[in-house]
C-alpha cells in the first residue's frame, strides 16, 4: 500500500524523451484498436491519459504545445473535425500544468478526484463540439471520461514502476 501514501519525496530519475514519445505512440495505438459498440462508448482516451501524466510529472518538457500536436494527430486518426481533440488536449494540458504541484502532493486517491475534473473538462469539449456540429447533445460521450479517470491510478503506478526499474537497472 506504499503507492497509496502521499507521494514520497523519493528522487525519480528524469525520464528520457524516447520514453515519452514511445508512451504517446502506444497510447495512439491503443486508441486505434478496433473498439466497437459499447466498448467504443466506454473506451478511455489513452492519449489524453498519457498527455495528462506527462503534463503533471514533467511540466517543463511536455506542455500545452506538445499536447496540441498530439491532439492534431488524434484528430487525423479519428477523422474527427480538425482541432477538436487539439482543443480538448490544450485544456487538459493547461489543467495538468497548473495543477501539477498540487497533484504531486496528493496520494493516488486524491489525485483521481482532481483528474476527474480535468477529464470532465476535456470530454465537455467533445460534447460541445458535437452539439455545435450536429445540434444535439449526447450524454453518453461523458462515459469515457469516467473510464479514463479510473485508469489514472493504474497508469501512474505502472509508469512509476517503469521509471524505478530503469533506475535499478542502471
Amino acid at each position: 500500500m506504499a503507492y497509496l501514501s502521499p507521494s514520497t519525496p523519493e528522487l525519480q530519475r528524469p525520464v528520457s524523451n524516447t520514453f515519452i514519445v514511445l508512451s504517446v505512440l502506444v497510447a495512439l495505438f491503443l486508441n486505434a484498436l478496433p473498439w466497437e459498440g459499447v466498448w467504443l462508448v466506454l473506451r478511455p482516451d489513452f492519449v489524453a491519459l498519457v498527455m495528462l501524466y506527462w503534463c503533471t510529472h514533467t511540466p517543463l518538457r511536455v506542455g500545452i504545445g506538445l499536447s496540441w500536436v498530439a491532439g492534431m494527430l488524434a484528430d487525423v486518426a479519428d477523422a474527427s473535425l480538425f482541432g477538436q481533440h487539439a482543443l480538448a488536449y490544450t485544456l487538459l494540458a493547461f489543467g495538468g500544468v497548473v495543477l501539477h504541484r498540487r497533484l504531486q502532493m496528493f496520494d493516488l486517491r486524491q489525485q483521481t478526484t482532481q483528474v476527474l475534473g480535468i477529464f470532465a473538462l476535456t470530454y465537455g469539449v467533445y460534447v460541445l463540439v458535437h452539439w455545435q456540429v450536429s445540434g444535439y447533445v449526447m450524454w453518453s460521450y461523458l462515459l469515457g471520461c469516467l473510464t479514463s479517470t479510473l485508469l489514472w491510478a493504474p497508469l501512474s503506478i505502472m509508469f512509476m514502476a517503469m521509471r524505478r526499474a530503469r533506475v535499478e537497472r542502471e
Binding site: 495505438f29 473535425l81 480538425f82 490544450t90
Partner: protein, 302 residues
Amino acid sequence: MGSPQTFQFFNRGPSPAARLVFFVVLSLLLMFVDARYGYLESSRGALSMLVSPIQQLATMPAKLWHQAGEFFVTQRGLVEENYSLRERHNRDAAQLSQLQSLQQENRQLRNLLALPQRSEFSAQPVEILYAERDVFKRKLLVAKGADAQIKLGQVVMDDMGIVGQVTRVYPWISEVTLITEKDHAVPVQVVRNGLRTIVFGAGDTSQLSLRYMPVSSDIQNGDVLVTSGIDGVYPPGIPVAKVVKIERDAAYPFARISCLPLAGVDRNRQLLILSDLPPLLAQPTEELPPGAGVDAKTGGND
C-alpha cells in the same frame, strides 16, 4: 525546482495562460475553417501518413486472430464449403447466362428506342480497416486509397446492395460514409411502381427514412428500394433498402416511413468499390427565347 512565484530565474517562455489562449484560438480557428470551408483536406492527408502506420498496426491483432482461425479449419469444413460454393456457382451461372441474354436484348431495345445505354462498371474489392472512432458517425476506413486510384464520391457496395460512398481519400486508406450516416441521401426508386424518392440516413446503426413523402403516397411495407441512377453518382438498379414501417398520420403533411438497409452496412469485412461509372451527360444550358426572362419577371410582379 525553483519557485516561479517570487521571481523567475529561468526564462521559460510565455506563461501557461498565454499558451492556453494561443492554442485554444488556433484550435477554434482550425475547427471553423474545417467545418465551413474544408480547406484542410490536403494537410489531413499529409498528417495521415504519420498516423496510418500506427492504425495499420492496431488492426494487426484482430487480423492475426482471423488468420489463426482460418489456419485451423478442418478438411471436412473445407469440403462442405467447396461443395456448397460449387452448387451456388452452378445456380448463379445459369442465371448469369440468362442475364447476359437479357442485357443483349435490353441493349437492342434501347437502340431501337434511341435511349442511352445503361452504364456498366467495374468493381475492386477492399478490406475494412476499422469503423470510425466517433460513436455518432457512421463511417468506415478501408485499406485502399489514392494509390489504388480510389476517387472521391465512388460508390461502395457489398453483395447485397449499396453500403456507402467514398468521402475522403488518403494516400493509403480512404474513408467511406455509410448510407446510415445522419442526413446522407441516396436517390432511389420503388421497384414495385417506379416511384422516385430519396432515402436518408437516420444516424442510427441500421435505420433509413423516407422523408417528404405525402401521406397518400403509394408505398407499402416490404417495398424494395433500388437506386434510381438519376443523380449520376449511384449506378441505377442496385438494391438499397426495404420499407419496414409506415406511419400515416393525417395531422402531419408527410408520412413517417422507416426502412432497413439491404446491404450488410455494419456486418462485412470485405466491400466493393465501384469505378468507371460514366459521367452524366452535361446539363443542357437553358436557352430561353430572347425576352422570355424579362416577361416572366414582369409577369411575377403583376
